[in-house]
């Protein structure tokens, strides 16, 4: 078997293992809920019968592993359980399945994330590569100081700064990004401009700094110096000698930052009241709506693991040592 195939299989196996452990961690958090939790959720007025039924529904009377496989089976078939909220104190049940809560918001969040990524990735690669090539120039130092400053800003600071300028002073964009799926694309972009801009500013700083470091690291290789001694032009050195070896580090930087982006949306969605999964999660946390939280965390973790898997596979298939084994 080709070693690349083997390596990729190993990497896939590792991802599945990680996913398994992550799901166990997420699931078992329920175990740590305080004893009077049912009462707390259903309210002080809840009848003891209702509380007992609720506990039974959560399966708190069954052994842990049985409940885990039950839950996991549900997750795999798209059933994330039922939300805690909306349960009546007197046994009336208006609660909704978690999947129905998450699904519509998922597409909103993915829209915002891809909108941002489309601007941020090309921009930061450009900045990262040019600053690496013109190291220690005025341009490099300026960009460096600016990005070092921006990575220190909390997302909500950037967000409110933008709101102050572009929504309060000059009413260019709306300060609330209340979108709905039936809006035309132009409207969607207009309304989510400020959240996307906030995320872009935060992410570009990180991504650009990492790209710069990766390129500088690459250029320190002796074969780059050799290419200089061979009298090759700068363009040739970059395109022919550096780039083929640069895919792995660059893709890694992109994956790391996309993962960061997915998390960054939580705060930005709250600031702009954007109807995404982050907002949903915060509401669930405040209400201690555990099934919804588990669903959201599962989504974030899967995205994170998939992005890293993707980056590693790119690194594997562009590695000449694996491509051309001895």
């Amino acid at each position: 078997m080709h070693p690349i195939f083997l390596t990729i299989m190993k990497r896939l196996g590792l991802s599945v293992l990680t996913l398994f452990i992550v799901s166990v961690i997420i699931f078992s958090t329920v175990e740590f809920l305080p004893g009077d939790f049912g009462q707390a959720i259903l309210g002080q007025a809840a009848l003891p019968d209702t509380v007992a039924a609720f506990r039974r529904e959560l399966g708190l009377d069954l052994p842990l592993h049985v409940r885990y496989f039950d839950w996991m089976g549900g997750v795999l078939t798209g059933d994330l359980g039922t939300s805690f909220s909306g349960r009546g104190t007197q046994g009336l049940d208006n609660s909704r399945p978690v999947i129905d809560l998450i699904a519509p918001r998922l597409s909103n969040t993915l829209f915002l994330a891809s909108f941002t990524a489309l601007i941020a990735i090309p921009l930061s690669l450009f900045l990262g590569i040019t600053t690496a090539l013109y190291r220690n120039s005025i341009y490099d130092r300026t960009v460096n100081t600016i990005t070092l400053t921006t990575i220190s800003f909390p997302e909500f600071f950037v967000a409110y700064l933008l709101v102050l300028i572009f929504a309060s002073f000059y009413k260019v964009f709306p300060s609330l990004a209340n979108i709905s799926p039936d809006m035309p694309l132009g409207e969607l972009i207009y309304r989510s401009a400020l959240p996307a801009l906030t995320l872009t500013l935060v992410i570009v700083a990180h991504m650009m700094r990492m790209t710069r470091a990766a390129i500088i690291n690459l250029l320190a290789n002796p074969y780059i110096e050799m290419a200089e001694f061979k009298g090759l032009s700068r363009v040739r050195i970059i395109l022919h000698h550096a780039l083929p070896n640069a895919w792995a580090p660059i893709v890694n930087v992109i994956a790391m930052n996309l993962a960061y982006l997915v998390v960054g949306v939580v705060i930005v969605e709250v600031v702009f009241v954007y109807p995404g999964i982050g907002q949903l999660m915060i509401d669930a946390v405040t209400a201690r709506d555990i099934p919804v939280i588990q669903g959201c965390v599962m989504f974030f973790a899967v995205t994170y693991i998939l992005l890293n898997l993707f980056a590693d596979i790119i690194s594997i298939i562009t590695n000449p040592r694996l491509l051309h084994p001895r």
């Binding site: 290789n221 002796p222 074969y223 110096e225 050799m226 290419a227 200089e228 001694f229 061979k230 009298g231 090759l232 032009s233 040739r236 022919h240 000698h241 083929p244 070896n245 000449p320 040592r321 051309h324 001895r326």
Partner: protein, 542 residues
Amino acid sequence: MNNNSTKQKNGILLEMQNIHIDGYSDDQWHRIVKGVDITLRRGEVLGLIGESGAGKSTLGLAAMGFVRAGCKLVKGSIRFDGTDLNTISEREKRALCGSRITYVAQSAAASFNPSHRLIEQTVETTVRQGLRSENVAKTDALRLFQDLQLPEPGIIGQRYPHQVSGGQLQRVMTAMAMSPKPDLIIFDEPTTALDVTTQVDVLASIRQIVDQYHTAAIYITHDLAVVAQMADFIKVLRYGETVEDAETRKMLKTPEKDYTKSLWAVRSIEKEEKQSDDIILKIDGVDAAYKGKTKVLKNVSIVVPRGCTVAIVGESGSGKSTAARVITGLLEPMKGQVLFNGEPLPLILKGRSKEQLRRIQMIYQSADTAMNPRHPVRDILGRPLEFYLGLSGAKRDRRLLELLELIELDESFVDRLPSELSGGQKQRICIARALAANPELIICDEVTSALDQIVQKGILQLLLRLQADLGISYLFITHDIATVRAIADQVVVMFQGCVVEQGMKSEILNPPYPSYTQLLLSSVPEMDPDWLSDLLEERSAL
């Protein structure tokens, strides 16, 4: 062949005058090269020799008009074939470098781009600079591979760098340097990273190809015996200045400066052979392997007589350092035993008592990594005194000074950190640390190979004196035959994890030899300009 070059055979090709180069380190500029002149005619080979810090690499790059990052050319003119390299533009310099002046680096494995086939990299400059068409260049490259005696010259170009061995890669790099048919090649320590038996082949093919194409070359190395085979002229450098300049044979026969003579200092020590029947250490039938890997030691038995020095020689991968790890207990053997003073030692480190540990001490190749950079000499030497002998306070300090005296250093060193010591001083402190335990046996793992010749000599003499005074036994691991001659009583030759032979130095180093010992000993360059030619003749006759 380049007609132009044969026509003006005796014209001056490279003229460097009064070169001064500064380097930046520790927050300030230091002068690395201080006013060196080089004149090189077409077809000539100049050997640049010197120890670390002599500025030879920096000078080699300057011949191409380059200075490394962190260095600057302060003063001096560099004229290549009538062109002043200081005044031409970057573009013109690029056209010159890589086509008329080329470079061969020390580490071939790192200097080839892992992503491209060797043949593409070999002809890259030739094709990119439009010197020849791709087809012609590749045909030329195949001939070069053949001339350099690479195995399967037709196929090797299709391989990637990591698919080819170090010695072969070094030859491919020479082919890459030859491909544009340059007037001048800079060889920067091209064989330093290779084993001696591989080095011979690479040296032979480099010399042959330089002769055949009549290319001028600057050959940079720290090994005088190597440069003697390659160069018409030799320039000795020290601290960035020229020490001596002469034609090769003249330099070897009648060196004018003492410093030049010190370049083969180790070869001037010769130890009287000593015999003893009292065995201090015996390892018996040892097999060993690193976790799950193939065996690196196969049925190895070695005997060390008391008060004597046994040298283990072999190339990288021969298992000589592994043998040391088994003796010290760092690696548990799969089979066999280690006897110390006739008693079996526990095979793992944890099983050994403090007293057992005290009697066997070890000194490492690199004193830099063998001393904690954050501990001053006082702690480095003081800890074993405290740990093994329970000395403290004034007693400890007194012993500390005695130890320093033993290694010929004074009390001013007590509070220094390793970074405040020179290479030789560091190794002396490591010796003192071993002595602090009052050991019976010291294992020396390549203790001199990272040092300059004259410093090596000092260390070896110190070790000999300590043996005479204190009766310590040494197990001396080395790849250098000159060192063996200088220090050993007995010699063990190892090859691929097996002991080829063990015996008295006079037996092993004199004929008749088993075939591997023969190959190893004959591959060690000698201070004779004809050595390589004679050897090749001899080998081809077989």
